[in-house]
Symmetry: C2
Subunit: 471 residues, 2 copies
């Protein structure tokens, strides 16, 4: 089901040539058409087919973005915004060619207000860059999707990650942005007020729009105080069910856990092998607590009692930074450990998200599917949000293996939808999940199409993503 | 500036008659056209002119809602959703007549999942009804705008209130909803997953849309565990600036205060007079802390130190429920105390919201304006969010006084916008703030119009609200 939507789209060679000529005149060597640049700016992170843009523009400011949008709008040529290229569902592919907008030079931090706990950045700023910049203010930006993604890309995919359970997702942490719209003008979607009831929530419309409604030129984010103390812990459980029960109780009791991550026994085994560790090869929760000495201790003790009640085995925790890094090593290495299980194979990284009451059943059923069909597919979950990931290892040169994986991914998504969940908690739709979005949204898809057509009447913004063109 | 937008709109008598006839046939005496019903279902909460609908339909289920939307769509007749009528900016007025949809009979709680901390309700459920229902589950719905509003109305205006500083606004607490759209079909905007990256955020598009994009038929909400312990406190400060400094430090330190409310000295004086109390007549903060015995004590002690540092006078707090109610009495009575200052006058209740670093200056400038122009206008603020309210007492029979108030409100809004804020933190735009939204949104208003036209091409959903028809 995945490959179907990664076919090439319709190209308009004359229009593309006209745009390239116009932009070369206006922007000089900020525009690049070399093969290496084009290849760099395409999908690279899973097995989805690469689809190259015709040119890459290294924008340096809003005016550059406007110039690209105006030229592309005039000629009806696709625009594909590009942050760091770490998206997983083909969001930066160019199925109909067009212009990739590279934001790596728009990476200034425009202002910061420690009093208001907010900051305004250009879209190319990466989360690590931002946190290094903020260190002296005592503040940090909490969203951590794993990769050192750009803030623009994280906003576009409504990213989240390990500590969303405490700090929310990009939806909750973007206060406002400026966006270049289809007419080439620039709008501000909101103010710096912490809340507002002033008209439609344009900010949230653009968060998660994956470049299909406009191009961001700045983003204002909420910040958090760096916790005085951080505690970390790890606890093995006899079953996924027991681990999920501990998660549910933790959330229900309102323990403000900062991270609560589930690794299944396959993932633990991979981590032991990869890093020479000796975790028990059982479903395991990794936890992090943010607060003061007192509250971190309190939270750890509260979780300890829960873990015991759920059959957890020897919850170990520490407020020492080095010790914590050791306890968390398996979690940090998870991706590379999975990859190392079979370096000759390709990884398909996919995610779904379900109500946490359904997490144990959904993971267990997925696990049974994996065993029954003999897949190698470790599971890592942001358990506190009911969000879990699979790293499916397979041979992308073997059409039979690809077909098997696609059928498995289809079953996974149907299973998540059947229990009230969503086909993606944080990776987005891109090209890879358009068919599942159709199943999930049902008649609401029509409203998404209505909005897309109204906001982007010429379909220049990242066409062929989120919504299938054919349907 | 306010009255200008409350002029009657264009009416189509024949179309209205056709809809009433059709709906009477389909819905029998669920449709009412008596004057008393029509008057009840119009704006009553400030001095904005009442504008009556032509009929009221007491819907009992989704099918009734669909019947109304289909008839009104066919004939191009306005639909005005009505919860409890507690909105403040004319949201339930019917400037062009039409059909008021009363949700009081759609007040069922459809399902609750204590494990997932969520609940699905019909739009007519009120927040007090919901919390009474939830009591045995150990959960509660935290959003508290003061009035016993309906969940549908709170969703429509993106309501918040006193404890938004800890629990967020309706934007953060609506997981999903079902909505009848302009074609008379019903869509689900999301799933029960805690987070999702699946396509456009339709949920957030409808939250705060004030009935202008569709009619809600059910709403799924996040819930919170009832705190084991609640502490309350009160502290007077030598100036608004000092009180605001204490608020900023509290937020910056990450103390998870549940409520932090500012009353200015005029409001305190009103409360003393109204309830025979003896608070010091100074700017005063009212606080509430939610947690366990330990964390409530900890938070109270932390705030106590902050208050001292900012010149606060004798922070008093308690974890005893009765004592807490006593400490908080002035805050609870604030609205009635303001009203009692001059029972012969009318109250205009208005709100703005600014970055908290700007709160002290914005309140101080507003206070100076009040003094200079001799207004009676106590100030109450949800200080932790930078959101403050004025209850402006004036003679609505005197055109000169009305003009003076309108000019004052205009200055207030311009002041909030000038310091990076918004023209409304929680009351919404309705009719009263359309001109300020235009100033605030600037070119983004065009995008709001594009969305409105695409989603509601016949302009049947609450016309004359949020976006001016003429402009």
């Amino acid at each position: 089901m995945v490959l179907r939507d990664v076919r090439p789209g319709v190209r308009n060679e004359a229009a593309v040539a006209a745009v390239i000529e116009a932009l070369r005149g206006a922007l000089g060597d900020k525009l690049q058409t070399g093969q290496a640049f084009r290849e760099q700016h395409t999908h690279t992170t899973t097995y989805l087919t690469r689809q190259l843009p015709d040119a890459v523009v290294f924008v340096e400011n809003s005016d550059d973005v406007k110039a690209v949008v105006r030229a592309c709008s005039e000629h009806g040529v696709p625009i594909i915004p590009f942050g760091t290229g770490s998206s997983l569902e083909g969001q930066v592919n160019a199925p109909s060619g067009g212009i990739s907008i590279d934001f790596s030079r728009m990476n200034r931090i425009l202002r910061v207000s420690p009093e208001d706990l907010d900051v305004t950045v250009e879209p190319g700023v990466t989360r690590e860059q931002l946190n290094v910049y903020l260190r002296d203010t005592g503040l940090f930006f909490p969203i951590d999707p794993g990769a050192n993604a750009s803030i623009g890309g994280m906003t576009a995919t409504r990213a989240s990650g390990t500590n969303a359970v405490r700090y929310g997702t990009m939806k909750d942490n973007v206060l406002a942005m400026t966006v270049v719209t289809a007419d080439g003008g620039e709008i501000a979607t909101g103010s710096r007020a912490k809340k507002s009831s002033a008209g439609y929530d344009l900010t949230r419309l653009f968060v998660g729009s994956e470049g299909t409604l406009g191009v961001f030129t700045s983003i204002t984010l909420r910040l958090q105080g760096i916790p005085e103390k951080i505690g970390g812990g790890v606890c093995a459980f006899p079953s996924v069910k027991a681990a999920c029960d501990a998660v549910i109780m933790t959330i229900q009791m309102g323990i403000p856990v900062a991270r609560i991550e589930l690794l299944d026994e396959v993932q633990i085994r991979a981590c032991n092998a990869y890093s020479g560790l000796s975790y028990e090869e059982k479903p395991t929760l990794f936890l992090e607590f943010h607060g003061t000495d007192q509250t971190v201790t309190l939270q750890s003790e509260q979780f300890s009692m829960i873990a015991e009640e759920c059959g957890g085995e020897s919850f170990r925790w520490t407020a020492d930074a080095q010790e914590r890094a050791k306890l968390w090593k398996a979690r940090h290495d998870a991706y590379w450990a999975a990859r190392a299980l079979r370096p000759d194979l390709t990884i398909l990284a996919t995610d779904v998200c379900v109500p946490i009451s359904q997490l144990a059943d959904c993971v267990a059923a997925t696990h049974a599917d994996i065993v029954e069909n003999d897949f190698l597919a470790p599971i890592v979950g942001h358990a506190g949000d009911g969000n879990f990931h699979l790293s499916i290892l397979f041979n992308d040169k073997d059409p039979a293996d690809v077909a098997r994986v696609e059928a498995f991914v289809e079953r996974l998504n149907r299973r998540a939808l059947a229990c009230g969940g969503t086909c993606t908690g944080e990776h987005g739709i891109g090209q890879g999940k358009m068919s599942f979005l159709e199943e999930e949204a049902g008649p609401a898809l029509g409203l998404m199409r209505t909005i897309k057509r109204a906001v982007d009447p010429k379909n220049i913004f990242n066409p062929g993503k989120i919504l299938r063109e054919s349907a």
